[in-house]
Symmetry: C2
Subunit: 150 residues, 2 copies
Amino acid sequence: MNDYLEAWDRRLRTAGFRITPQRQLVLEAVTHLQHATPEEILEEVKITASGVNLSTVYRTLEVLEQVGLVTHAHIGHGAPTYHVVDDAPHIHLVCSRCRKVESINGDAFAKYANSLETENGFVVNISHVALHGLCKKCANEGNVVTDHDH
Amino acid sequence: MNDYLEAWDRRLRTAGFRITPQRQLVLEAVTHLQHATPEEILEEVKITASGVNLSTVYRTLEVLEQVGLVTHAHIGHGAPTYHVVDDAPHIHLVCSRCRKVESINGDAFAKYANSLETENGFVVNISHVALHGLCKKCANEGNVVTDHDH
DNA sequence: GTATATGCAAAGGGTTTGCACGGTT
DNA sequence: AACCGTGCAAACCCTTTGCATATAC
């Protein structure tokens, strides 16, 4: 583990939140699943604690995000996906045609983000970035960028 | 005007779609409003044709996007915003704290996008890009990246 | 003991869909 | 005349909210 997870409870406490089994389980589920929607997180949590409610998952994710333990990105049409903040910084490439999602190293993007910060003062949340377009395979097959996506 | 708008009806026709008043009005509304949600587009369209239905706007936007006349980006929590494709390429910076949206020139981003294409084969739809983070003002004021946003 | 967190159920926003009618080709 | 596009209404998914109960502190 690492500082983030060792100290998850301290993070919550120092921000004035209470420690509950639900919060622990949701955080563990996000950590374990890597990129999961609230619904998927609920299913994971229910394996251990079947009584947990979806609205609790939503409220918990909001809290965990507030204290910086998790973040989310918008991939695909529907629900956002959550992941723990200390994952290796990465960005998401979402194919508008085949819907496949790739996670790629965020270092190159970070350079662009830094120039943005220097020139515009805007600080990008890199973990949140999802770029839409055509993956290698689809770009080679077709040409019209349909992009019905998300 | 320009090629895109002069030929909007040909674009549709050659793709096998029919020309209808609704499609013309929706395209005009998107052009005029610049970054508008389906709901906002409907209101604009209704000024001229009060009988038009929301579902028609959705279906029409899908068609217009398929033939490459419009595209959309995800800004804020809720509905996506649509804009015409021949707008000067730009990307959106969405502040997670104050919710303000800036549109900035997309040239610098395009360089990063090109490197992505070279190295990963992924072709980014630049008009679709929305980067989330903290705007200059909010970055200077606070520090915790809350990012409740969408 | 008190304030916060949870479960439940209902409501809400945004989007999609089935169907019959009307309009474009 | 044939087919596509539209309006309408219902259904759908995802998310939020009010309230009473339970729980962490």
